[in-house]
Amino acid sequence: MSIPTLPDAFVEKHAAKGWPVGLAGVALVIIGTFMSWSFDPNILGDLSVYGYPGGLQILAIILSLLALVLLLTVKGPLASRLGQWLDAALGLRALGLWLLIYMVGVILAIATDSSGLVNVDPGGWISFVGAVLVFAGSQVIPLRELRDLGRARLPGWFEIAAVAVVMAGVLFGAAYALAREDAWSFVLVLVFAGGTVAAMFRTGTMGWFGHVATRRRKVLTLAAFAVAFFFPFTQQGSDANMSIATSVLIFAATAIGLNIVVGLAGLLDLGYIAFLGAGAYVASSLSRSAFATIDWHPPFLVIVLLGGCVSATLGLIIGTPTLRVSGDYLAIVTLGFGEIFRFSMFNLDGNNGPNLTNGPNGIPGIPELAVGGFNFGDEHVVAGITLGRFSNYYFLLLLLMAFVILVFTRLNNSRIGRGWVAIREDEKAAEAMGVNVFGLKLLAFAVGAFLAGLAGTIKAHQDGATSPDQYIFLESAFLLAAIVLGGMGTIAGVLLGATILKLLPEKLRFFSEYRLLLFGLTLVLMMRFRPEGLVANKRRLLEFHEEDEKLATAVESELVEEAK
């Protein structure tokens, strides 16, 4: 994401004009937001009001206020305090670009949702011109050498407060974005978020936050869970978004399980969805559904453990070939296992082998979970806010997620995690140093499968039906893609990847036709340009860039600093 720049000579010649032009742009954008943007009140919420800003206009104001802060850091009252730390000029360039994209998006949305550009009101044009000015002004503001913000030391309370503010921002941002009904509004909110994040990156604030996050890992984790916990309360009883959220959670929990196999142990598993399926089939065959095939209905906790164990056993079976096979061949072996699982579930209908799975029809009508007296299908009112069916599953899944993350991080930072890295780096040397290579590979498969099995048992109840077509190869590819997109070996990356892959198709239904097309393209492009994923794991980053000496030195200095 590099921003194109103008030739140096041009920048120097017009350097002085950048600041006033930018300031004027900010003013114009804000003035525009107090006027009507759209003739038609039914587009993008209601933007047809004069006198005060509303809805998406407020986002434009926020972006331009951010630009104002940065402008004042370049020259003005903030320059003395923040000037030497914040890379205001780069930040402004990013912000200017995204503000422009935002306004172009608004105008496009109005034009396409109604009958053309005539429906854009003067306010919209004024804000648009403002955005153009901010963009143009930012391009000629000269860049400066700065101190590394990562070295900035601020009081502890400030760092914790920063974590809290960012997390609260994430919560409100997520709630606000999900509340947008139409696709255009949703896209514009994403552009807004993109602009804010880009500006944070460019100014160096994000780098600083990254350091804070490593220093205050516990605070960050707690805050993240708090955000996740409070999310259902922002939904005012609506289940639409909660349904998406639960599917994201199941997907993410499974993907983190897979990340143990792929990201930590370095083994490619292309049949991983079978483990989720195994858990789901255990839960549904033992459920009280009329189509359930086994007449034994133990309590749910037993089913969960059983699902996990059946899955882990499958994992061990699928893992055994690692004794002899690795690399591409192993990937194909796992793919083969995945397909065998699906075919078997499809076939075991009583005519071809015993009736275990009800064949292609699957097992529908799985009742809601009931643990103790708590029925997951019921609505509950907490603090005046209705929490529906999906919220119940959401909280359960959050618990699962916490467990999965715990397992992942603790294994990663243990003797076992070191063994996995050693195997990834040089299997022969690891073996010669006494690392139990085969055992650790099996362990990765078993643990990953166990976690997926747990998720599967919950998924069966949440979906209410289990059938073979839920567990096709493409789903395994999706899980893998969440990891590749987000970042191998990281939790945050997989969460991000899972959210992107599950949320965008739900919200942007107009492109559902092209969903898989873009999915395939994304995989290819990621491998080409950013194989380590959006949120890169340091070690993985190094592994994908074996020749990059600079990178290695940079990572090393971070390591030395962390050790202090």
Binding site: L268, G327, I332, E513, G520, M527
Partner: protein, 315 residues
């Protein structure tokens, strides 16, 4: 006994198809040690290339003289696809960790399937049917229609075409590799790419040729598949590709004769299993499972293949 011969014929037909596709895996592997898992899609695109040629120029006709032109159309479509994927996606990853090309291959695979599914009926200047369902494949005189009876064994005309195509392709391939300059260049690169480069062989070009060569045979296989099944669809490359890969491994990946041999063995085994595995786990419903079981067993216990011609470093 007739059943046996019938299944043998079916198996050889199926096997010829696998063999044609398997050569593509093996040739590319022999040159760059890359398993091109998107090769199944090259096969699928070949079938669509043939169909498009027919629909564009000969819609409604049934003369057998159309067949060679359809094959040419198939070859063009497949070769363009294969060369493009090598150039755009694989070449930049040549020194990347092995995970990277594999994930890229999955991406390409999904992308190409979707490209056909979504856009086939939207190609401008052509009136193609939607590829969201199966599309009927043209039936031509001579290569489809009434089956040939030999004793009690029924042989489809399309089967004769498939086997004949394999024989012709194998001979041409042999000639190309052993008797042409380019082919000998390929041999040299597969032995030792660095030395070959020093000797003035353009390795990049040889790699492109390997992809193209595999694509040509996959295109022929695509046409055969269309004639045999009477229809084609965008998903046809996935399972066929996997089975052909099994065949390539079975014969020893990197070994061209091995790929042909492995394809035939796999086809016959699959047909016989349908006939002879008894009880509830027999028959057509489980045959894919048995094919995958065979795939896993081969990869685990005999990764160097039945012929064992080449020790595979990857396994």
């Amino acid at each position: 006994m007739d059943q046996f011969f019938q299944q043998l014929v079916n198996g050889l037909t199926l096997g010829s198809l696998y063999a044609l596709i398997a050569v593509g895996y093996t040739v590319v592997y022999g040159i760059v040690q890359l398993i091109n898992f998107a090769h199944g899609e090259v096969f699928m695109i070949g079938a669509f290339g043939a169909l498009s040629t027919y629909l564009l120029f000969f819609d409604g006709q049934t003369g057998v003289w159309i067949l060679p032109i359809m094959i040419v159309g198939a070859i063009i479509a497949s070769v363009v696809t294969a060369v493009a994927m090598e150039r755009v996606a694989y070449r930049p990853l040549r020194n990347a960790p092995r995970l990277a090309p594999l994930i890229t291959a999955i991406g390409i695979s999904v992308f190409l399937q979707e490209l056909v599914r979504v856009f086939y009926d939207r190609i401008p200047f052509a009136d193609f049917p939607s590829a969201k369902q199966r599309i009927p494949f043209p039936q031509l005189d001579g290569v489809s229609g009434k089956a040939v009876e030999v004793g009690d064994v029924t042989i489809q005309r399309s089967a004769i075409f498939t086997v004949a195509a394999l024989v012709v392709c194998a001979i041409l391939l042999w000639y190309f590799i052993n008797r042409t300059k380019l082919g000998r260049g390929m041999l040299a690169v597969s032995q030792d790419p660095d030395t070959a480069r020093l000797m003035g062989i353009n390795v990049d070009r040889i790699i492109v040729v390997a992809f193209a060569l595999g694509a040509v045979l996959a295109a022929v296989a695509g046409v055969s598949q269309g004639l045999q099944n009477n229809n084609i669809d965008f998903k046809m490359g996935f399972i066929a590709g996997l089975k052909a890969f099994t065949a390539a491994v079975l014969g020893g990946i990197g070994n061209i004769q091995g790929a042909v041999f492995g394809g035939l063995v796999l086809g016959v085994v699959e047909s016989m299993a349908t006939q002879y595995v008894p009880g509830q786990f027999g028959g057509g419903t489980w045959k894919d499972v048995w094919a995958f079981v065979l795939l896993i067993l081969v990869l685990v216990f005999r990764p160097q293949g039945l012929l064992g011609a080449r020790v595979v470093d990857r396994a």
